[in-house]
């Protein structure tokens, strides 16, 4: 039940079309944790530990990685819902909240987030139509227009306004609530939308409707998405680029076909092979990756994946692999000594062969 497409919003490009919409440099966030009474030094969870990436305009960057590797924290730091310890951001060529750059308030309006927890992010005392109209009203949209837009958006995400507009969040299923959150984010007319597990709670048919909607809106409004998800099929479907994180760091990034076709990092390969079987006669017998991620309070030296990596070598403990381009494919980068002929890892491809 799709309503008429929303009118395309004017896009205010500041930088050139080639200018990435968002550039993130060396983002860090360490959370202090309660130590034992006898411990002198304060301990920190290395939640986000030097994350750098960029997202081209109008593209979707999929972010995947183990539970707890810092995906949501990265998203919150970018949305400035939380202060980073260090790092910088450039939005369409301008430093965010820097002298001469884009002001924080303006940046926030250009960026909207849809969270994992559909319930916590909705005001229980507002009907869902009021919730969706609220933001635009605060930004000066006349009430009647905000209401009409809210109804259009509800219809657009598959919730018939006649049935749903006057409902309260607790009267919806988890999936229905998540669609309200997506509608609300779109009501701000943002340029960058961060979707953190936004379709995880939906059934496959509604998920398909929402993914189709996200794709249509992306084209209509030249939206750029950061799409965080554990669903590897969905990430494959929607992403132009994919970034893989492990324990607070980026271990691999590149165009979606490269990551899904020729993953270069052993963690990425393990992750991508962990998709459940669709054949009841051939169920999965063992997990492609045993054990648990190391403690984020005391990350291992060198490569953080080495305790679980089938290719680990003493050099992996001694030296931290840098995120570097694969030979001949500069957009595809991996942080693994196997991909660096100069690393000293005996399994690394010699330079001539690469």
């Amino acid at each position: 039940m799709n309503s008429a497409p929303l009118p395309p919003s004017p896009v205010h490009d500041r930088g050139s079309p080639a200018q990435p919409l968002l550039v993130v440099r060396d983002l860090k966030k360490h959370f202090p944790v309660r130590g034992g009474p006898l411990e002198r030094t304060k301990k920190f969870v290395h939640a986000v530990d030097g994350v750098s990436f960029s997202v081209p305009k109008g593209k979707t960057l999929g972010i995947v990685g183990e539970s707890g590797c810092g995906k949501s924290t990265t998203a919150r730091l970018i949305a400035r819902l939380m202060q980073a310890d260090s790092g910088s951001m450039v939005f369409d060529g301008e430093g965010v909240d820097e002298f001469g750059g884009i002001r924080l308030k303006e940046f926030r309006r250009n960026l909207q987030m849809v969270f994992q927890d559909s319930f916590a992010s909705l005001n229980p005392r507002l009907t869902i139509a009021e919730t969706i109209a609220y933001g635009p009203r605060v930004h000066g949209m006349p009430a009647a227009e905000a209401k009409r837009q809210a109804h259009d958006l509800l219809a657009r995400v598959g919730l018939a306004p006649a049935q749903f507009a006057s409902r309260y969040p607790h009267e919806l299923s988890g999936g229905q609530r998540q669609r309200v959150n997506i509608a609300r984010a779109l009501a701000f007319d943002p340029r960058l939308v961060i979707l953190d597990e936004a379709v995880a709670a939906l059934d496959k048919s509604v998920q398909a409707q929402v993914l189709n909607l996200l794709q249509e809106l992306k084209a209509e409004r030249q939206l750029t998405y950061l799409f965080i998800s554990h669903d590897l099929h969905v990430v494959h479907y929607i992403s132009d680029y994919v970034m893989v994180m492990y324990l607070g760091q980026v271990v691999e990034t590149g165009p979606v076909e490269r990551i899904y076709g020729q993953a270069a990092h052993p963690y990425t390969r393990a992750l991508l092979s962990a998709v459940p079987s669709m054949d009841p006669d051939r169920r999965t017998e063992s997990s492609p990756l045993a054990g648990d991620p190391p403690n984020p309070i005391n990350p291992p030296s060198g490569c953080r994946f080495r305790d679980r990596c089938p290719h680990a070598h003493p050099v992996c403990e001694a030296r931290t692999p840098a995120l570097i381009g694969i030979a001949g494919e500069p957009a595809h980068q991996a942080a693994c000594h196997l991909n660096d002929p100069a690393s000293g890892h005996p399994g690394a491809l010699p330079e001539t062969q690469a």
């Binding site: 039940m1 944790v33 995947v64 990685g65 183990e66 539970s67 707890g68 590797c69 994992q116 598959g158 919730l159 018939a160 049935q163 409902r167 309260y168 009267e171 919806l172 299923s173 988890g174 999936g175 229905q176 597990e197 995880a200 709670a201 939906l202 059934d203 496959k204 048919s205 509604v206 998920q207 398909a208 409707q209 993914l211 189709n212 794709q215 554990h230 669903d231 590897l232 099929h233 969905v234 494959h236 479907y237 393990a270 992750l271 991508l272 962990a274 998709v275 459940p276 079987s277 669709m278 054949d279 009841p280 006669d281 169920r283 999965t284 063992s286 997990s287 054990g291 648990d292 991620p293």
Partner: protein, 326 residues
């Protein structure tokens, strides 16, 4: 066959608070001891309501329940007081998508599992602690002795989920209700948790109702799958039969909408339209407004769940299975 462990007969649940909703409409489910049922279906079709009703978690004042609900020979709707407390957690327990719902952040996970055991069994503190530690080892939490004294937030997502399974299984329930227990986990941890659930189910012989949107996850753990739409079971069959040859038009649509690598660059095949208003269900088949096979009869009469070979389908015109390759 002996009496099933779980038997829901024409179970209906209506919410009659501020907003009326017929969340379940004459649901029939039978589950044998040791059987694993995957519950699939649209968002809002009543999967979580089914599980919550089995645990009697809905407030009595605003919820009207009709029909019969028997678990392990007990009439669940008649349980009261201490018997209900023992039933919850003892006979039936539940794991959620979000472990935060099961754990209290201010107590260690060891304390909470110990507490749960003591609430159900007449055992001393030390014995309960030993049993709790044993549970943490059984769900494969590494360094279980150390993790026993950890607070929930100190564990990784996968470990928290395993700790919640340990909590749910601590009192040896005969029925485990799992509401999307792996949705929030990454693929490698999801597989670990699914394999663990499968192993624990085999070891203990418990029955499981596993709610998920991930057909792959259901395939990994379930023997049978029931598909729900608008508060009704519309199709039920062995996992392989559902995945390979769905017969109900909604099941067909749901499977066709599932994303795969081959769909890149083209729109997905979503079932058009929206689910019906649960406060005003159509008189006939609830799926009729969205169904390409709908006839006059479909719009008039609710199709009962009837057996068709070794499956059950609630549809007047079931889809013909595509001839299977040998």
């Amino acid at each position: 066959m002996s009496a099933p462990l779980v038997s829901l007969q024409d179970l209906s649940v209506q919410f009659c608070g501020h907003r009326k909703a017929s969340a379940l409409n004459a649901v029939n489910i039978e589950l044998g001891a040791g059987e694993v049922l995957g519950l699939l279906g649209e968002s809002g079709s009543g999967k979580s309501v089914t599980l919550r009703t089995l645990l009697r978690l809905h407030p009595e004042r605003t919820t009207k329940i009709q029909g019969k609900m028997q678990v392990d020979g007990q009439d669940v709707l008649a349980l009261k007081g201490r018997a209900l407390d023992l039933y919850r957690g003892g006979t039936v327990s539940m794991v959620f998508q979000e472990p935060g719902l099961a754990f209290d952040p201010v107590y260690t996970i060891g304390q909470q599992i110990t507490e749960a055991i003591r609430a159900h069994e007449a055992v001393g503190e030390a014995a309960a602690r030993a049993q709790a530690l044993h549970m943490l080892e059984r769900v494969q939490i590494p360094q279980a002795r150390r993790r026993f004294d950890a607070y929930p937030h100190e564990l990784s997502g996968g470990m928290r989920q395993r700790a919640m399974i340990a909590l749910a299984l601590a009192c040896k329930p005969k029925l485990l209700l799992a509401d999307e227990p792996t949705t929030a986990l990454d693929a490698t941890v999801q597989i670990q948790v699914l394999l663990l659930l499968r192993e624990l189910q085999r070891e203990t012989g418990m029955s499981v109702i596993f709610v998920t949107h991930d057909i792959g996850a259901a395939v990994e753990v379930a023997d049978r799958i029931a598909v729900m739409y608008a508060g009704r079971i519309v199709e039920q069959a062995a996992v392989g039969d559902i995945v390979r040859a769905p017969r109900h038009p909604y099941t067909v649509g749901l499977l066709a909408a599932t994303v795969g690598a081959e769909h890149r660059g083209q729109p997905l095949q979503a079932v058009p339209g929206a689910p019906p208003d649960l406060a005003a269900l159509p008189p006939g088949c609830s799926f009729a407004p969205r169904c390409t096979h709908a006839s006059e009869r479909c719009r008039r009469e609710v199709p009962p769940l009837t057996s068709l070979g070794n499956r059950a389908v609630a549809c007047w015109h079931p889809v013909q299975p595509v001839a299977e390759a040998a």
